[in-house]
Symmetry: C2
Subunit: 308 residues, 2 copies
């Protein structure tokens, strides 16, 4: 059991799932969330999935981080579109050694934490997981669940392995990486085409996208662009990442990327973290991303209220 | 007055407008159209627009080209998505010297006519016009109206100037070109980005697209790709075409491209003529069009019924 005092900032599906797993394994977990907490306090949190049935009977949940107070580990699981709130939410949670672990999508989240709270506090985790929040008290996991964990701008430290072991003991598969940013780019090889084109193509799942010859080619072409951009930014990502992602996706069935789910639910899209920031970093490194520019422009327009 | 016997194949907005103008000027015009002809025969066709009010009292309209019989000039104004019908519709209209003039969008229409009915019959016209069909008997012209007319695979002939003069006398501004295909590519510099991105971006008009910095850049980048492709295909299109189109569009106000109107009305999109065929010709000429490939793939997916 992770003997840390833990805060979960942003208790949507991701935050509730990983926080719930840690709490169920006996860690001291405090959830920040908006809205009415009564039902959670009364019923606890239910998590179910393939071979998984967890009930966190006693949920420690709050509407304010001031009520939580200093913690050893803070999991940031806000949508990146809410990142502007971080600067106010985090300070009450800090003591001198507090670790900040962002489980958010895309690029720029570690940098934001480092800028405001210091580089050495920051870790990042990539979540490979398919979740659905059924209600405030119920989370369903469809597939996967593992985390790839790393330090911001340095190789793995003893604490990194300690946190990973804690997740592992809570039933969450957790791998440690010495190059977090490389792994973030590797994940973007998937997210940039699939999350984007699934929306642009009118709501297609991954199986439908792979079955369409032109869309599959467009997907691969975008992946090539991302791999080239990663390398231009100094991350030695091999072209085999592309084949790997396509092969893995083919085993996933009819999967809807998270941004498509956001889109269908009318939620704000994580445009800057997934498309905007990679584009800006590539441009700064001298790499042109013509396909990504088109996707980004269209997604931004889709995400903006239309003129009357 | 054009002393030809004229058939209009496809009496939507474009066919009704140009056929109506020729008929109002005294030409012998026969309209092929689907559905009930009674209201048109009873009320005639009304055309109105800026400084324009035309009533064609006596409309010669039919459900079959066999009822029309041989003509001197056939205007093809079908949506390109209905091109499969041409091989059956045209033969009853032919005598030895019948001219076939396609007023359709994009690339491939002259080639289809030439393949089935002989190269020397074929002319093409680019229509710069903003129309709306209000009802079966009423067409509204918002703006423009001019035609650029040329021969298929040869310079202008005496008959080209004769047809142009006929349009002109009917109140339709008509310019003759010696290089029809170059003009088609020049028009695609506009249609490929504006018709495509307006749909992908969720239904934006031209003013909204130009006002969005990212979309405007994406538009210009696509235009550059089209200019390069045209040149690779042997058409000496200058880069000034881009600036020209952007400047012209800025004067158009909140204009909705025809494909966006099709999309909003749930009609089939002219994907192959506007995006598919240019892409294939560019590829055959060794020109890569990465941005167009993305647009094409997405539009095809949007135009295909979704999997359940």
């Amino acid at each position: 059991v992770l003997r840390y005092r833990i805060a979960i900032v942003g208790s949507g599906a991701i935050g509730s799932y990983y926080g719930g797993k840690l709490a169920a394994a006996g860690s001291d977990v405090h959830f920040l969330m908006r809205g009415d907490l009564e039902s959670l306090r009364r019923n606890g949190l239910h998590i179910h999935g393939p071979d998984e049935k967890v009930h966190v009977a006693k949920m420690q949940c709050y509407n304010s981080t001031a009520q939580i107070g200093p913690c050893d580990l803070v999991l940031i699981a806000l949508k990146t579109t809410a990142n502007h709130a971080i600067v106010d939410l985090v300070p009450p949670l800090l003591h001198e050694g507090t670790m900040l672990l962002t489980l958010q999508n895309g690029l720029g989240n570690e940098e934001l934490l480092a800028r405001h709270f210091g580089t050495e506090r920051v870790l990042g985790g990539l979540c490979f997981i398919a979740l659905r929040r059924i209600s405030r008290t119920e989370i369903e996991r469809y597939a996967y669940g593992d985390i790839v964990l790393g330090e911001y701008r340095r190789t793995a430290q003893p604490r990194t392995h300690e946190v990973a072991a804690g997740f592992h003991r809570a039933g969450v598969s957790c791998t440690v990486t010495d190059d977090l940013l490389l792994q973030r780019w590797r994940k973007l090889v998937w997210n940039i085409p699939f999350n984007g084109l699934s929306i642009l193509a009118g709501g297609l799942d991954t199986a439908a996208m792979l079955a369409d010859q032109s869309l599959r080619q467009a997907t691969v072409a975008l992946m090539e662009e991302v791999v080239a951009a990663a390398n231009a930014c100094g991350h030695a990502l091999g072209r085999n990442a592309i084949e790997e992602q396509i092969r893995r996706t083919a085993t996933m069935g009819s999967y809807k990327p998270s941004t498509l789910l956001d889109w269908e639910a009318g939620r704000e899209l994580e445009i800057e973290a997934i498309w905007g920031e990679p584009l800006r970093r590539a441009a700064a490194a001298g790499a042109d991303m013509p396909r990504l520019k088109i996707i980004y422009a269209v997604l931004r327009a889709l995400g903006t209220p239309k003129r009357a």
